[in-house]
């Protein structure tokens, strides 16, 4: 963790007191990450900005339900961000105002996960990026289709015109490389 960087607990506490400084701090910590994610998913800066706004307003409005001792704010924000992005890309004619606002299963599940220091998440993202650069072209493509576009392995097989078994093999190898990057020495 960088010097002076506080954990999520302090930030969540401010959010729960409806202190705009808490929202500003959350944005400063995760804003660039989620903007980059939305921009990659939508390929449209204006839409990416709208999604960032919607995401952080959701954080603002739901912060009182969040228990910083039981959950990780960063993981929650990034997971909700991806779901928001997928909502958009899955609906080519998506209308911003009519998207479902209800919590999905992943939102609820994440609220009960153990806390992680934000620096760990940020560092892991950097390690993942480095590991990704060393994957084969096929391994990169299957990961991108699953992560950025939400395709299942059988859908990816159709996309790439490749046998399902081969796609699973690429996916397995790619995820293994990423796991090793985040947790060196771990082999499942």
């Amino acid at each position: 963790m960088r010097s002076g960087e506080s954990g999520d607990a302090d930030l969540v506490s401010k959010l729960q007191r409806r202190d705009p400084d808490g929202l500003a701090a959350a944005y400063d910590r995760y804003g660039q990450m989620v903007y980059s994610l939305f921009l990659r998913m939508t390929q449209d800066p204006s839409t990416a900005e709208d999604l960032v706004q919607e995401l952080f307003l959701r954080v603002w409005n739901r912060s009182r339900d969040f228990d910083a001792t039981k959950g990780s704010l960063g993981i929650w924000i990034l997971s909700v961000a991806r779901n928001l992005g997928l909502d958009f890309v899955r609906s080519a004619r998506a209308r911003f105002k009519t998207r479902l606002q209800a919590l999905d299963k992943t939102d609820e599940l994440l609220l009960s996960y153990k806390p992680k220091e934000p620096a760990l998440l940020i560092d892991s993202a950097r390690l993942i990026k480095e590991a990704f650069a060393n994957l084969t072209t096929d391994q990169k493509r299957v990961l991108e289709l699953a992560y950025f576009e939400g395709f299942s392995q059988s859908e990816i097989a159709v996309q790439l015109n490749a046998p399902l078994g081969t796609v699973k093999s690429w996916m397995r190898a790619a995820l293994e490389r990423l796991r090793m990057a985040v947790k060196p020495g771990e082999v499942r």
Binding site: P20, L23, A24, Y27, G31, Q32, M33, Y35, S36, L39, R40, M41, P45, A48, E49, V52, Q53, F56, L57, G74, I75, L78, S79, R82, N83, L86, V89, A92, R93, T106, Y113, K114, L120, L121, S124, A125, L127, I128, K129, L143, E144, A146, Y147, F148, E149, G150, F151, S152, Q153, S154, E155, V158, Q159, N161, R172, L175, L178, R179, V182, R188
Partner: protein, 240 residues
């Protein structure tokens, strides 16, 4: 599914891209409070979240932070003069934003009208083709969960290809219909994407000699289409 088999799919479960049968298996374990699964799901959650690193870092515009904080009523302490200048600036900005928004709305409406007009023209073409004498109907697919529909082939007018349940494809891809002759190379017959409900209509206005055609086929291609199929067809409809 055993735990060693699950080791490869926890991340896919968290990412929401796992096949339904495997999801059900993991759900069963989670519902039973399986500590092995819960621990691995936590690790998978961290990994899946850190995959945000796959997106090339891009700096958001400065105005975005301000826009966000303004929307929750960020308090400000300013001198009266500064407040007046800021208020005037905000009013000018609001006017500019409104003008931009109004222009965007008009453009959006114009685009929607153009889309509706295109759809109407497409349907009009389809009706013209379907009403021609000698139109031949070929049904393909019967089960609900596989691609199914009908192809209407008119010797002098063209082809109407309608149906549903084609697989989802990436945003930068489209389906392309091909005419497969008994001899020679496939000929392109239109690029299309299914609507939000998975239904599709493709109208090809070209003269077709049905007796020369062996089949229709559909492949996944770039949005602008290809001169020849670049992937194996996902659907072949024999006309014989």
């Amino acid at each position: 599914m055993t735990h060693p088999e699950m080791n490869d799919v926890y991340e896919l479960y968290v990412l929401g891209v796992l096949e339904p049968e495997a999801v059900a298996k993991i759900d069963e374990h989670v519902a039973d409070g399986c500590s092995y699964c819960l621990e691995h799901l936590q690790d998978a959650t961290l990994l899946a979240s850190a995959m945000v690193g796959l997106a090339e870092p891009q700096k958001p515009p400065r105005r975005l932070r301000k826009r966000l904080l303004d929307s929750v009523g960020q308090p400000r302490r300013r001198s009266n003069l500064w407040f007046a200048v800021a208020a005037l600036s905000a009013a000018c900005l609001a006017l500019a934003v409104y003008s931009f928004w109004a222009a965007s709305s008009v453009r959006s409406l114009q685009n929607q009208i153009a889309e509706v007009r295109d759809e109407r023209n497409e349907l009009r073409s389809a009706v013209e083709i379907l009403s021609q004498p000698g139109t031949r109907t070929v049904q393909f697919g019967v089960a609900e969960n596989v691609p199914h529909g009908r192809a209407f082939v008119t010797p002098s007018g063209g082809i109407v290809f309608v149906g549903s349940q084609l697989p989802r494809i990436a945003a930068d891809r489209a389906f392309e219909l091909w005419l497969i002759p008994r001899q020679g190379a496939p000929r392109p017959a239109g690029v299309f994407r299914p609507n939000e409900r998975g239904n599709f209509v493709n109208v090809a206005r070209r003269s077709v000699n049905v007796s020369d055609l062996q089949a229709l086929a559909v492949s996944v291609e770039p949005l602008q289409g290809s001169a020849a199929p670049t992937t194996t067809p996902i659907l072949v409809v024999p006309l014989a």
